[in-house]
């Protein structure tokens, strides 16, 4: 077990926790943040797997573009009114 394995284990924990948080968090904006974290972990994995091209794409798309897209869509959907949204979600779940 080398030091790289430790980093891999921590990143797998990041992936699984981020995915679970994206599915389970009440607040949808928090879930969008968790999705960006999943793509962060996957991007580092691509570097470890010797695929810098794919890592660059995932970093650009997952961190920058997807965050922008989700943020703008969340604004148009009215998800930014955090307190209102939370009480609404609690009624629905």
């Amino acid at each position: 077990m080398t030091a790289l394995d430790l980093v891999i284990l921590a990143l797998v924990a990041l992936l699984i926790t981020g995915a679970l948080a994206a599915m389970l968090l009440r607040n949808l904006l928090g879930a969008a943040v968790a999705t960006a974290l999943v793509s962060l972990g996957v991007s580092v994995f691509f570097v470890i797997l010797r695929a810098p091209d794919v890592a660059l794409t995932e970093a650009a798309v997952g961190a920058g573009l997807s965050g922008l897209l989700l943020a703008l869509a969340a604004r148009r959907l009215g998800l930014w009114r955090i307190e209102v949204q939370q009480s609404e979600e609690e009624r629905q779940c």
């Binding site: 091209d53 660059l56 920058g64 573009l65 922008l68 604004r75 148009r76």
Partner: protein, 232 residues
């Protein structure tokens, strides 16, 4: 209730599928036959130091054209789905402007993002990166100022012109190969010296067209989404 059981059944079947995938995956074996052939061949025949780039643009050039078409169709469909309504009155200067830190930071970051984007595009055949990644960086550079100052957004007409011209340039470069009795999208101008900026024939030109097209397209899409809708 029926949906619950259906989901359970689906999850069981899917777990079985994943397990069989786990068993059958070739872990750590040598590349496929085509992969090994490309690894041996690509550097000499295409001349790009980045072998993934030569796969994407030279061996599978038509696939990349199809990918561009899909992205274009998605951007057009977003415009169609969201479109039609009258634009909300433009926000006044005081209304939506970000704070001082955000405005200054965006001003500093904008030229840096442009430089990084063009570097990623133009070095696509030497280092990791290429048209799609650089295009995403360019789109982010164009949309970021809108976050700080909503009243200054780039004009959609200019973006549409850039997008159309870049797409036409990609196809024209492909058609030029036909004039020299090659197949569509064959790289021309010779392989050149491996590792030079001006090497790999027309691949850098193709990637420049891809980058400009993707950047303009995604910027248009994001600006469309950033507009104030009637119900929001």
């Amino acid at each position: 209730m029926l949906t619950r059981y259906g989901s359970l059944l689906f999850a069981t079947g899917f777990a079985f599928l994943l397990f069989s995938l786990f068993i059958a995956l070739p872990m750590g074996e040598p590349p496929t036959l085509a992969g090994q052939a490309i690894l041996n061949e690509a550097a000499n025949s295409v001349g790009a130091a980045n072998i993934v780039t030569s796969v994407v643009l030279a061996y599978r050039g038509i696939d990349t054209l199809g990918e561009l078409s899909i992205l274009f169709a998605a951007a057009t469909a977003v415009g169609l789905v969201l479109g039609g309504q009258a634009r909300a009155p433009r926000p006044s200067k005081e209304d939506g402007a970000g704070g001082f830190i955000l405005q200054t930071g965006v001003d500093l970051l904008f030229p840096l993002l442009l430089v990084v984007g063009f570097y990623i595009i133009l070095h696509g055949h030497l280092t990791p990166g290429g048209g799609f990644q650089g295009g995403v960086v360019l789109a982010a550079a164009l949309v970021l100022p809108v976050l700080a100052r909503p009243e200054e957004s780039p004009s959609p007409a200019a973006l549409a012109w850039v997008e159309g011209l870049a797409g036409a340039a990609f196809i024209a470069t492909g058609l030029a190969a036909l004039a020299y009795d090659h197949a569509f999208l064959t790289p021309l101008l010779g392989a050149g010296q491996l590792g030079d900026l001006f090497s790999a024939g027309t691949l850098p030109l193709l990637y420049l067209a891809v980058g400009l097209k993707v950047g303009a397209e995604l910027a248009k899409l994001l600006l469309r989404l950033a507009e104030e809708g009637p119900a929001a």
